[in-house]
Subunit: 206 residues, 2 copies
Amino acid sequence: MTLLVDRGVPAAPRLTPAGERILAAASTLFYEQGIRTVGVDAIAAAADVTKKTLYDRFGSKDRLIAAYLEERDRTWHRFLDDQLAERNPTTPEAMILALFAALTDWLAGSRNGCGFINASVELAAPDHPAMPVIVGQKRWLRAEFEAQARAAGFADPGELADRLLLLHEGALVSYRVAAMTSAPEVAARAAADLLAGWPRLLRTAR
Amino acid sequence: MTLLVDRGVPAAPRLTPAGERILAAASTLFYEQGIRTVGVDAIAAAADVTKKTLYDRFGSKDRLIAAYLEERDRTWHRFLDDQLAERNPTTPEAMILALFAALTDWLAGSRNGCGFINASVELAAPDHPAMPVIVGQKRWLRAEFEAQARAAGFADPGELADRLLLLHEGALVSYRVAAMTSAPEVAARAAADLLAGWPRLLRTAR
DNA sequence: CAGTAACCACACCGGTCGGTATACTGTCAG
DNA sequence: CTGACAGTATACCGACCGGTGTGGTTACTG
């Protein structure tokens, strides 16, 4: 089994060595401390680079934020590829559950939950250049759930995908906000039961 | 049926007229635009009050933030009381579903999702004076779910409460981050199915 | 050799942030 | 009458914010 839905993520842009360091520093600082908390000076200092270089490479803090989220999206997809290669699910149902299993490992030792949810809250402005990356990530996951559900022959794959998404996002946010460390495991169990009880189409798949 | 778990929210403090205006202005501004975006000057201006008065009443922005969240918690509980009085559920199961039904109305026309989740992300610092209010709100909801599940005679009420909480929080966050306007209705349907299929204790309730 | 991209060092900008200081006015209870 | 309290008005603070400008150095490349 493979993932079915194309990730809309643009390929990694070519960066100069200093550009790489800036993006790496920004990624850890933004995720660990929050986007608004971290100033460009702190990023430049952590990357051992002058602010001038930072602005030559990325143009503005907002565009650096967008680059950070695109990078994080690529990292997440690479992580999923690795996880799926390990677990090697053989059915669409197993693929969905593998995505939930991967969530546990993804969150392990992070404490700050989902960088995309956090960014969405911190940026707020709907026209921020990073917003498409954020909603794109969530829409991809939902679309992948739906595609797998359809491939599995489940009835009403759209509704099933919606419910899976709620469990997934609920785990991410409860893990952080409510300090519910067991959240990903709970979500995985809930997803498994959800699939087990979901009605199937009687070979009349469209 | 009534709610079973005591809300840990302190009663509303007595405020001077100017204090009330400050808290009201802060509440709408913080929720609408975000905590970090809104400065104390903007709050003082909106409340038609000098900054001096604001600091005389609340001491610091951080304590004003905590007061805002406590106020929002009280407002939410009053809202729940009203909703439950309207729907008047007669069983613990109906009570749980009424809480999900209330979620739809709570989110209607807000667009910014859950003020507590947002605040948790924006504040980040675990020792912020507002953090106990945030996790307290989430812990109350989970405890209430568990108490109702136990009263209904469901097996493993802790696990059931965890799953209900994930659906609830997932709806809140997907509504905002993924612009999923149907999220609360999806959560309500998922909760109903979850309860319908959940095993019961055979009159051996402790 | 000339040109150019990538970088450094550093100084500077206007604006906003949370928070404080000073001085004065109205109101109301003991 | 007299405080104490709630409030006004205004000016100010240092720190930090995102962002720009100048000028110089290295290294690769046509």
